[in-house]
């Protein structure tokens, strides 16, 4: 039977653990807020870009920009997987990995070649030996992404789509529903869906004839389209970050609750052990006195 000292040791170690998990929860909560705020601002950016396309009077057709061109036959698909770098966030990464494996299983018999790009170490560590790795974006911090990183990733993906024979680029990431719920989701990135672009330009927004454009209007429009790709990548990065912190918050909250329960249980056991020791001692004294 463990002694009182054993119980005391266990309780104090549990208390320390709960302190750590509690702090991690609070840190994640504040980072989550930041990520959500960034998401909102990223949306504002996309809105501005769309408005500008609108103002230029552009009606974007799918044959206008190579990033919009759909191919009839899909042979090579690039999957970009967003996971976190660090663990301790519940099933956040595992759910996504399972989702990816299911997807691969379903498409096993198709003649489509899948290649993977990874953002976040967790996904890469799991899949590096299992699938064909196109690239691991090692230097993108999953916990706090910036738009420069997003622009770099977006450029690479655009290049892959345009020059390396990929017919589609899809993103595999967790959709952030609430801090308690993240759902694995597959999103199409390239070819860019024209529904992401503004509806037909209104008559009233036709540009003034005397506006200076450099380069000419048509080319300018094609210059704006990749901004939307950057936005989508950045948004997915942020959603991944928000999800990671949300999941960690929930996981750490559960861990704290569990630690508290264990502390309570162990305190009871310790008290029982202490009482047992006292009773034994008393019996010893009484029986000793009786013997005299």
């Amino acid at each position: 039977m463990p002694s009182i000292k054993d119980y005391n040791r266990k309780i104090s170690s549990l208390k320390n653990t709960s302190k750590i998990t509690k702090t991690m929860k609070m840190v994640s909560a504040s980072k989550l807020r930041k990520a959500q705020e960034s998401q909102r601002q990223a949306k504002d950016f996309a809105h501005e870009v769309n408005q500008l396309i609108h103002r230029i009077g552009g009606q974007v057709d799918s044959d206008m920009h190579p990033l919009l061109a759909t191919s009839d036959e899909v042979k090579k698909v690039l999957v970009v997987m967003f996971t976190s770098d660090k663990g301790l966030c519940g099933g956040f990464n595992n759910n996504l990995i399972r989702h990816a494996e299911k997807m691969l299983e379903e498409h096993q018999d198709d003649s489509i070649a899948y290649e993977f790009a990874f953002i976040g170490r967790r996904g890469y560590n799991h899949f590096q030996k299992r699938v064909k790795v196109w690239k691991f974006f090692e230097d993108i911090p999953s916990a706090a992404p910036d738009s420069k990183a997003a622009s770099r990733v977006a450029k690479k993906l655009e290049k892959a789509f345009l020059n390396e024979g990929f017919n589609r680029v899809i993103m595999l990431c967790n959709e952030f529903i609430s801090p308690l719920a993240q759902v694995p989701e597959i999103r199409s990135l390239l070819p860019l869906d024209t529904s992401d672009l503004p509806e037909e330009a209104l008559e009233a927004t036709s540009p003034d004839a005397d506006i200076l454009a450099e380069p000419e209007m048509g080319k300018l429009l094609s210059f704006l389209v990749p901004r939307l790709v950057t936005f989508k990548v950045f948004y997915a990065l942020l959603e991944n970050t928000a999800g990671e912190h949300g999941a960690r918050m929930t996981a750490m909250d559960n861990a704290t609750t569990n630690a508290m329960n264990l502390i309570e249980e162990n305190t009871l056991l310790r008290n029982r052990a202490r009482q047992a020791a006292i009773t034994t001692e008393l019996i010893e004294i009484i029986s000793g006195a009786e013997a005299l």
Partner: protein, 102 residues
């Protein structure tokens, strides 16, 4: 010196939103500066150094790809990213780094 309202948007949020005297960006075919009262214009912006002069103080930046739009008195810069730099040389070095890492 007369000023004009400038807004710089990046996916990370607005970087600048206020009255400034000058903005310089690296445009499609060379450096491009805008002062108050510029004719309406839209220009493509490429990765490169740029600066904003706000109430006499100059701040250097590295701007990512995007567009610069002059609309009436308003000037809007939409770029992938905007990173502060200490001076022109630092901005230049940072932008070379940014375009190489692609």
């Amino acid at each position: 010196m007369s000023s004009f309202p400038l807004r710089i948007f990046t996916p990370e949020g607005p970087i600048v939103d206020g009255e400034v005297e000058t903005i310089v960006v690296t445009a499609y075919n060379g450096s491009l500066g805008v002062l108050a009262g510029h004719a309406p214009m839209i220009s493509a912006v490429v990765i490169g150094p740029g600066k904003v002069v706000q109430s006499g103080a100059t701040q250097w930046y590295v701007f990512g790809e995007g567009t610069l739009e002059v609309r009436g008195p308003d000037v809007v810069l939409l770029v992938d990213f905007a990173e502060k730099a200490d001076n022109y040389d630092a901005a230049k070095a940072q932008s070379v780094e940014a375009s190489v890492s692609e």
